[in-house]
């Protein structure tokens, strides 16, 4: 298959649809995470999902995606509670708490994984696929689940836009106005957990983090308004999902996840370079313009000063 023929294949259409929605919803959620300085939460949660998936497999004994999703979500929610508990009740800061939860949960997951390997139902190939992610291997029912959940995430973000906005910029003020800040905080975490869990099977553990971070950081370069940033970030995520899946379908052996992340990274680099006001090129141009202006003013002042001296008006 080459070029645009791939779009005619119904299977590809489904997968494209799924990736686009996944990119869109994680981009939207990511901008809130970015403003709340929780960008690496996605990375920690994606790793923390491993023991959940293993326990789900040990209990049910089947490689059903649904049970994996439930296990991963439960582990993810536990992880957010643990991170919250550590940062609230001890003097350990958020970054260390994230690192601790990420490595301890993942390490525990590896212990469980070796237990599964050693037990008689030793075939854990499905687990591998789930953890490293390959969108092309998804079947239509997976894509359906992904689409429904993505739409749910986007709807929630639209419904709670005002609350999340307040939470991102001034949680103290939000508490003062009587908003249930702790609940909203946990709700936002829950939405991120859901996005991560759904995203893992499409792009894999490590790279899911990127979909929550990169589009949001890129969007931040273009605007100072949250509404615009959320829309842009969603759009960047959507484009990355589309490009990643498209290139992956054309070149058969290339995995979807890394390509999606690379697409997002290219958008990020373009933003760093070309964004108005904050971009590198805009800054260089501005500096040049300012220097020119200053030099001109200086010259003018000098000229004026000379005139003043001549006319004896100084002093």
């Amino acid at each position: 298959m080459s070029g645009f023929e791939v779009f005619l294949d119904p299977n590809t259409q489904w997968i494209l649809m799924g990736s686009i929605l996944l990119g869109l919803s994680s981009g939207v959620l990511g901008s809130f995470a970015y403003l709340r300085k929780q960008s690496l939460m996605g990375d920690a949660l994606a790793h923390a999902a491993l023991p959940g998936v293993c326990i789900a497999f040990m209990i049910t004994g089947t490689k059903s995606i649904l049970f994996f999703l439930i296990g991963a979500a439960v582990a993810g929610i536990l992880a957010t509670f643990a991170i919250g508990f550590i940062t609230r009740n001890t003097r350990i800061k958020q970054d260390s708490a994230l690192g601790i939860i990420l490595s301890v949960f993942f390490g525990f997951g590896i212990v469980l994984l070796t237990q599964i390997q050693h037990s008689e139902s030793g075939n854990q190939s499905g687990l591998d696929k789930f953890l490293f992610g390959q969108a092309a291997s998804m079947v239509q029912s997976d894509v359906n689940t992904m689409m429904v959940i993505s739409l749910f995430l986007i709807t929630m973000c639209i419904l709670f836009f005002k609350e999340f906005k307040l939470l991102s910029f001034d949680p103290g003020f939000a508490r003062g106005l009587g908003f249930p800040v702790a609940f909203l905080d946990q709700l936002l975490m829950f939405l991120i957990v859901v996005a991560v869990v759904v995203g893992i099977q499409a792009v894999g553990v490590v790279l899911m983090a990127s979909l929550l971070i990169t589009p949001a950081v890129a969007a931040r370069y273009w605007t100072e308004r949250l509404g615009v940033m959320v829309v842009l970030s969603g759009l960047f995520g959507l484009i990355s999902g589309f490009l990643g899946t498209w290139v992956s379908t054309m070149a058969h052996h290339l995995p979807t996840g890394p390509l999606t992340v690379l697409a997002a990274t290219i958008i990020f680099i373009l933003s760093v370079l070309f964004a108005p006001k904050r971009g590198v090129i805009a800054k260089v141009l501005l500096r040049k313009a300012v220097r020119k202006e200053v030099l001109m003013n200086k010259a003018q002042c000098k000229g004026n000063g000379m005139n003043h001296v001549k006319e004896g008006k100084v002093g």
Binding site: S96, F108, T214, V217, L254, P255, F268
Partner: protein, 291 residues
């Protein structure tokens, strides 16, 4: 003897990671270790493609270069106004993706096992020996031990500077310490330690040992020197106990070592005499009674 080498390697990794990890925890950069251990992948693949062998000197060189590039890029984006955690996230996921794409493009038929790179297995340590100066030791003991010695030497030499830079960079700058230089020196140490360790014991053990023992020690003391010593002891303790746990359960050694470290951390969170949750509750109750 094999048991000894595995435990010894684990203890070396724990000690060298805890040493630099203390400064990362204090400087709120705990996730840098995680970032470096992922972003060195393209360096390893490129070194492999150029040298055509799995000779570990070339691979380590490639990894080290990428480690420094990662640190540099993170700092660059941070300086241009991106939040520090977000710049870490953008950089390491991008580099990791480049690595995976390179692997799938070029090494499909060649034996470069991704699992081995990312989840290097500490159980194989005793069988991979190298002879240097007439002494035959497991390769990992050479590399991690070397990293530990370099770390001890540099941190011992510049202990005061590192200390001031971690607690009060503004003051450090004011009294004339080259803050940027010590930042890059620390990051270089982190990068070296990570690269030296993860090839033999797996990325996740390194990431865990960089954060968990220092954070545990952070809850137990107010003094930096004590914190470093404590975190090294806790790290070594976790690797010894983790090994025996793995032996009992017949499970992944690295996974068990981190799980034990996690268990010790939970104990510290609950029972630390100065910062534990229970101690704080008890002190609050006592304060109320006194009232």
């Amino acid at each position: 003897m094999n048991d000894f080498w595995i435990i010894f390697t684990g203890a070396l990794v724990a000690a060298s990671c805890s040493l630099v990890g203390c400064f990362l925890v204090l400087r709120r950069m705990a996730m840098v270790g995680d970032a470096i251990s992922h972003s060195v992948l393209p360096g390893i693949v490129i070194a492999f493609l150029i040298s055509g062998s799995r000779d570990s000197v070339a691979l380590m060189l490639g990894a080290s270069i990428l480690g420094l590039v990662t640190v540099f890029l993170i700092q660059m984006f941070q300086n241009s106004g991106v939040q520090s955690d977000a710049s870490i996230g953008v950089v390491f996921t991008a580099l990791f993706s480049v690595g995976i794409v390179l692997v799938s493009l070029y090494t499909r038929d060649i034996d470069l096992d991704l699992d081995c790179v990312l989840y290097g297995e500490i159980a194989y340590v005793p069988w991979n020996t190298v002879e240097i100066l007439g002494v035959t030791l497991p390769k990992s003991v050479w590399s991690v031990g070397g990293a530990l010695l370099v770390g001890l030497f540099l941190i011992g030499l510049f202990y005061k500077q590192f200390k001031v830079c971690s607690f009060d960079p503004a003051m450090a700058a004011a009294i004339g310490i080259p803050v940027a230089f010590f930042h890059y020196l620390l990051m270089g140490l982190v990068s070296m330690t990570t690269v030296a360790s993860f090839e033999s014991v797996g990325a996740i053990l390194v990431v865990g040992m960089l954060v968990v023992p220092p954070a545990t020690a952070y809850l137990l003391t107010e003094r930096l020197g004590v914190m470093i010593v404590l975190s090294i002891i806790i790290g070594i303790l976790s690797s010894v106990m983790g090994y025996y746990l793995a032996y009992l359960l017949d499970a992944s050694i690295a996974g068990c070592m981190i799980s034990v470290a996690g268990g010790l951390f939970v104990l510290a969170v609950l029972f630390s005499p100065s910062h534990g949750v229970l101690a704080k509750k008890w002190m609050r109750r006592k304060a109320l009674q006194d009232l």
